[in-house]
């Protein structure tokens, strides 16, 4: 019993001593004492400090991991939404670009009385077989798009409507074997008939042979525009068609044949412009104007 009391007294003394050291630690008179006690207690302090810190870190780490998982999930969802938005933005940007080109075409061809006489249509289908090249668009006679109306995009001529229904139409592309359009080679002013073929190749047949001492009728790199002549399909003149990529002799060697690469990518048409009316007289007045000469 006495032994137990002694221990309690010793413990109390130590606590009081510790408290007094803490309180009077600033007095230089007891500094050696407090230093000695500090040395004795340092390992105990370090041990307890380490234990409490580890326990705290573990608890805090668990809580942080849970928060981080929630945060990662939220960020992943945000990233997915941003990726979808980026894809939508890309689509809208390319559509905007196409519509701008159509708008440019309309503004540069005011002389052809295109403003107010054209409608924007969307391509909605293609020919089921691959020997013929046609396109469905979502405007028809109800929208003022008649049979025979030329169809264009910002880069140039696409083709003509060959069958117009109420709210849809069939467009025969320039590459279709039944397509025939009167064209002019810009440099030499030579005219000819542009025809398509089942392979998608476009050629200008029956270009006259070159005359000695004069510029050649056709050369690789020449730009080709519609002639506006009603020898083939009747379309406004000076609409870009393509560029000559090959010149060869006809089978009879009496004429030249030019292979034309179209300006328009027929495989990726989305928005097109249907020209419902134009003034042939004003379109022939501006002989040299090439509205879109970039290739």
């Amino acid at each position: 019993m006495r032994k137990r009391n002694d221990r309690q007294v010793l413990l109390l003394s130590l606590v009081l001593l510790g408290a007094s050291v803490s309180i009077f630690g600033g007095f230089s008179g007891i500094a050696p004492l407090s230093e000695a006690i500090g040395r004795v207690m340092a390992p105990v302090d370090g041990l307890s400090d380490g234990l409490f810190r580890t326990a705290g870190d573990t608890l805090g780490g668990t809580r942080n991991a849970r928060e981080l998982r929630v945060r990662v999930a939220a960020l992943e969802a945000e990233l997915a939404a941003l990726e979808v938005n980026a894809a939508k933005l890309g689509d809208v940007t390319s559509e905007n670009e196409r519509l701008r080109q159509l708008l440019d075409f309309r503004t540069t061809r005011v002389d052809l009385d295109l403003v107010g006489s054209s409608v924007v249509a969307a391509a909605i289908g293609q020919e089921p077989g691959s020997l013929l090249h046609t396109l469905w668009i979502d405007v028809g006679e109800d929208n003022g798009a008649p049979n025979g109306a030329p169809v264009v995009v910002g880069h140039g001529l696409v083709g003509r409507i060959v069958r117009a229904y109420g709210t849809s139409s069939h467009v025969r592309l320039l590459t279709d074997p039944n397509s025939k359009i009167g064209v002019r080679i810009e440099r030499s002013r030579a005219t000819g008939m542009l025809v398509g073929s089942p392979t998608g190749e476009m050629t200008i047949d029956y270009i006259p042979q070159d005359i000695a001492g004069r510029d050649s009728m056709v050369e690789v790199g020449d730009l080709v525009f519609t002639s506006g002549l009603a020898d083939g399909a009747h379309v406004p003149r000076m609409i870009p068609v393509g560029q000559v990529v090959e010149v060869r002799q006809s089978d009879e060697k009496t004429a030249q044949v030019a292979v034309v690469r179209p300006h328009v990518d027929f495989g990726s048409l989305e928005q097109v412009l249907v020209v419902t009316d134009w003034d042939p007289a004003s379109s022939t007045a501006d002989d040299g104007a090439a509205p879109d000469e970039d290739v």
């Binding site: 289908g125 089921p128 077989g129 691959s130 020997l131 013929l132 046609t134 074997p177 089942p198 392979t199």
Partner: protein, 171 residues
Amino acid sequence: MNPYATFAILLSIVWAQQALMPHTALGSAAPFLPLIAVVCWGLLRGPNAGLAWALIAGLMLDQLSPSPVGMYTLPLVVGAGVLLIGRRVLFSQNVVVPAALVSIATLVYVIAQETLIRGDGGHVPWALETQFALIAPRIVLNLLWFPAIFFPLRALARRIGGPRIGLGWEG
């Protein structure tokens, strides 16, 4: 076979041809599912069934094209005519027969449609390289797509029962 089911199957094949096949094109050539289906069905159910499918599918395709009626029907029916020739060798237990019939049917189909395009005033060069460029890739593509059409149709033919023609490579 139920005529409504026939109509639905052919309609979906024609839809797939117009909506999906342009995206699988090799240059200007694309596989022609209606022709493959006609040949397959003719192999599985007899030439008469194949010719009936050719007629119905051809009329459907004609409705989707601005070309004169018959631009698809006639070549399909003529292409399906090779089934009448192939009928004699169908029991030869030869794996090559179906592939050969698809190839010949494609050749006949292209030539028949070219003839109609020329008759309609279209421009189809006679040059050999043009003909090769028109026919060869289409035969290859149709052969590649042949199994995708044949096996579902074979399963269908087995399901509905009735007369059946062997190919020599059925399980």
